[in-house]
């Protein structure tokens, strides 16, 4: 059974199965009660073949020295819609299977979404496993806290694990208010011993420690207020519960090698987001203050995005991005590669039928000059095929930047071909 993906090799597989089964039954009952006549079903999602290439040899002991890692990912999406689109049930499982000679942690499965959503006249609810996006900036997700990151899947911060929740929202004349009740915590995923893009020691996801005696069954809560006034979109949020980012301490794996033990604290976090949309200029900011996560600290980012439309007599737009990121956390807090960084980026959107786009940029540390260059290109061909190319290069990394320094040989190129259905 040790070939099973990580998500299934949980310490409490029984509990999870029961919860998922109960949820699925509940959604089935909701669906059965819904009016038959107007109900429609949709099948969507994709299957992707992917090559991940590391040109340099690994730096750390235990890391796999294969330079090309092939993998497959499947993410189907089942949807039932009724009540004129006001009610829907969506189920989106995800599975990735990577080649055997690479990190087995990367073989994993997740339920990205399994929920019932209903939009009433001026209120809405979502019950089940879901994904939520908060924030305004492009180079870092700062206030976005509802979902745990799926760090083992890709370098992409937008790969998230499905979060079980009861979400209730209401629109008032003075803005909208949403509440989240999250009865189950999703532990982070991290590259294993053989994986790249990790620190000198892998994070051992088999021995997490929790501040709460309820461990992952601590119920987390969040509130968010958002509104639009003229050209300004803004939001304020509050979170109390198990922090998504773990602190780490050195420990020993069951097989004897050194690992990092993740510690999940009960944190409080107050967040703010603002965007001003001023003609072709978007001015943005987001930040939070967090308590009890290896200290109390603020994190924020401010920046702008200016778009030149229909450049050089083409249909394409060019966007210029500039963002300053500040992270005030101390050395006991969860590790991050951000402290005082400047992001400069360029986005090209072709506005063609194939949704072709390119985003390239560099993230530079203002003290050490360490740089991370990244680029991504995407386009469609036919009506069902999509190709994505992503690259990441680390340059001039200073030894004082622990997270980046450990990954300085992990330049990578990712090519993925997806078939949507």
């Amino acid at each position: 059974m040790d070939e099973l993906p990580d998500g299934m090799r949980n310490r409490k597989p029984c509990l999870i199965s029961v919860v998922i089964f109960a949820l699925a039954s509940l959604l089935w009952a909701v669906l059965a009660m819904a009016e038959n006549a107007s109900r429609t079903y949709e099948l969507g999602g994709y299957v992707a073949a992917e090559l991940l290439y590391f040109p340099d040899d690994p730096l750390h002991e235990g890391q796999s020295d294969v330079d090309v890692v092939p993998s497959m990912a499947l993410e189907p999406e089942f949807r039932a819609i009724w009540d004129g689109g006001r009610s829907q049930i969506v189920f989106t499982p995800f599975i990735r299977v990577s080649s055997d000679d690479y990190d087995p942690e990367r073989n994993h499965a997740d339920i990205r979404e399994l929920n019932w959503a209903h939009f009433g006249s001026n209120w809405w609810t979502r019950v089940g496993v879901g994904i939520v996006y908060w924030g305004k900036l492009e180079s870092r997700r700062i206030v976005d806290i509802i979902n745990q990151r799926d760090l083992v899947d890709n370098v992409d911060p937008d790969d998230k694990l499905g979060q079980p929740m009861i979400n209730l929202g209401r629109q008032f004349s003075w803005g909208s208010v949403e509440g989240y009740l999250m009865p189950y915590f999703r532990e982070g995923t991290f590259p294993g011993l053989e994986g790249r893009l990790r620190g000198p020691f892998p994070v051992d996801t088999d021995q997490p420690q929790y501040e709460s005696t309820l461990e992952e069954r601590h119920t987390d809560v969040a509130l968010r207020y958002s509104n639009v006034i003229g050209d300004y979109d803004f939001a304020a949020s509050y979170f109390h519960g198990t922090g998504r980012e773990p602190r780490v301490t050195l420990g020993k794996h069951a097989e004897g090698y050194d690992v990092l033990i993740p510690h999940y604290d009960i944190i409080d976090q107050v967040g703010l987001e603002v965007q001003a949309t001023l003609d072709a200029l978007l001015v943005k900011g987001e930040g939070y203050y967090r308590w009890n996560n290896g200290g109390d600290f603020p994190v924020f980012g401010v920046g702008f995005e200016y778009t030149y439309f229909s450049v050089w007599d083409t249909n394409g737009d060019i966007g210029v991005l500039c963002e300053y990121l500040h992270d005030g956390r101390g050395s006991l807090a969860p590790p991050t590669n951000f402290d005082d960084e400047l992001f400069l980026g360029l986005r090209w959107t072709a506005n063609d039928l194939d949704n072709t786009s390119f985003l390239g940029g560099g993230l530079f540390d203002l003290h050490t000059g360490s740089g991370v260059y990244s680029a991504e290109f995407t386009t469609r061909f036919g009506s069902n095929w999509k190709i994505d190319v992503k690259a990441q290069v680390f340059t001039n990394v200073s030894p004082t930047e622990a997270v980046l320094y450990a990954a300085r040989k992990d330049h990578n190129l990712l090519v993925s071909l997806s078939r949507y259905f």
Binding site: G44, G84, I131, V132, Y133, T277, A280, S310, L353, N355
Partner: protein, 295 residues
């Protein structure tokens, strides 16, 4: 005597025929079907403007009171060589009901355009709160990230999703977005759907338009055609509206809409099987927070 009687009979007949004919003409006098031009009518610029405004005001009000509307579009984009691709879209509209003392709308309608295909962008939705005098407020929902982002709507003249439609072409055409000049009246439409139109020159007054002017053919409540001219005064695109059907005993809708780009020979064809009214839409559904629930 005999001749006199014949002459009398002939005269009577001609008078009867003439009065019958003139009666028909006067019954139609509010919609003259004889081609005329501003020159033949000797209209002053001021008169041509007012005549144009009357025509468009009447046309604009024909579309009032629709309350809300939903339509599924099939979009066929054809390139110069004749190869084509198809997209499926859904348009939802919510009527805004602010009027001035002339009874003309002063707020743009709210709309949501969502993609049903191609499958990798299915669920992507664009929310527009239209404005008459300034840039619209626009949000886009990206389903792969579950992200709602406010975007700049300065890009009125940019093409929508690689089609020949600019954003300003798909926005609702409100009375106060243009100045008008009546040019002429003439036959219009197709053999299958013949009509008689007032031809109006309309100049955009909203910011960032890609057009110096539009020439538009109005057949009472139906707009039949628009010629778009670029900033060099050259004919750039032609849009035609066909297969008109009436809803709610009032609102006319074309079910076949073609945009031809004369610069590159491409065209975009929109086919709408039917428009659906009296949906249970609410204002709260047309807010950025609600976009992720749109399907």
């Amino acid at each position: 005597m005999y001749n006199m009687r014949r002459l009398f009979a002939a005269t009577t007949l001609s008078i009867v025929v003439f009065s019958l004919f003139s009666g028909m003409v006067s019954a139609q006098s509010n919609r003259n079907t004889t081609s005329q031009t501003a020159e033949s009518l000797d209209l002053s610029p001021e008169e041509a403007r007012r005549k144009g405004e009357r025509v468009v005001e009447h046309w604009d009000k024909c579309d009032y009171d629709f309350v809300n509307m939903r339509a599924d579009y099939t979009l066929v984009q054809t390139d110069g060589a004749g190869s084509s691709v198809e997209r499926q879209l859904t348009l939802r509209m919510l009527e805004m009901t602010d009027y001035d003392e002339r009874g003309i709308k002063t707020t743009g309608d709210w709309s949501i355009v969502s993609f049903r295909s191609p499958p990798d962008v299915a669920g992507t939705a664009l929310l527009v709160h239209a404005s008459l005098y300034k840039n619209d407020d626009t949000w886009v929902y990206m389903p792969s990230l579950k992200r709602v982002k406010r975007i700049s709507s300065r890009n009125q003249s940019g093409n929508f999703a690689g089609t020949e439609f600019a954003y300003e072409d798909i926005a609702s055409q409100e009375y106060y977005k243009f100045t008008y000049r009546w040019l002429r009246s003439e036959s219009c439409g197709t053999e299958k759907e013949p009509g008689f139109c007032d031809v109006i020159e309309q100049i955009p007054t909203y910011p960032n338009s890609g057009y110096s002017k539009q020439i538009s053919w109005y057949d009472d409540c139906r707009q039949r055609r628009i010629d778009y001219y670029d900033h060099n005064g050259k004919l750039y695109k032609t849009q035609t509206f066909n297969d008109y059907r009436q809803y709610n005993g009032k609102n006319w809708r074309g079910h076949d809409n073609t945009m031809i780009n004369h610069r590159n020979g491409r065209q975009t064809h929109l086919i709408i099987p039917k428009f659906i009214y009296r949906n249970n839409f609410t204002k709260d559904q047309f807010q950025s927070q609600a976009l992720r629930f749109i399907r």
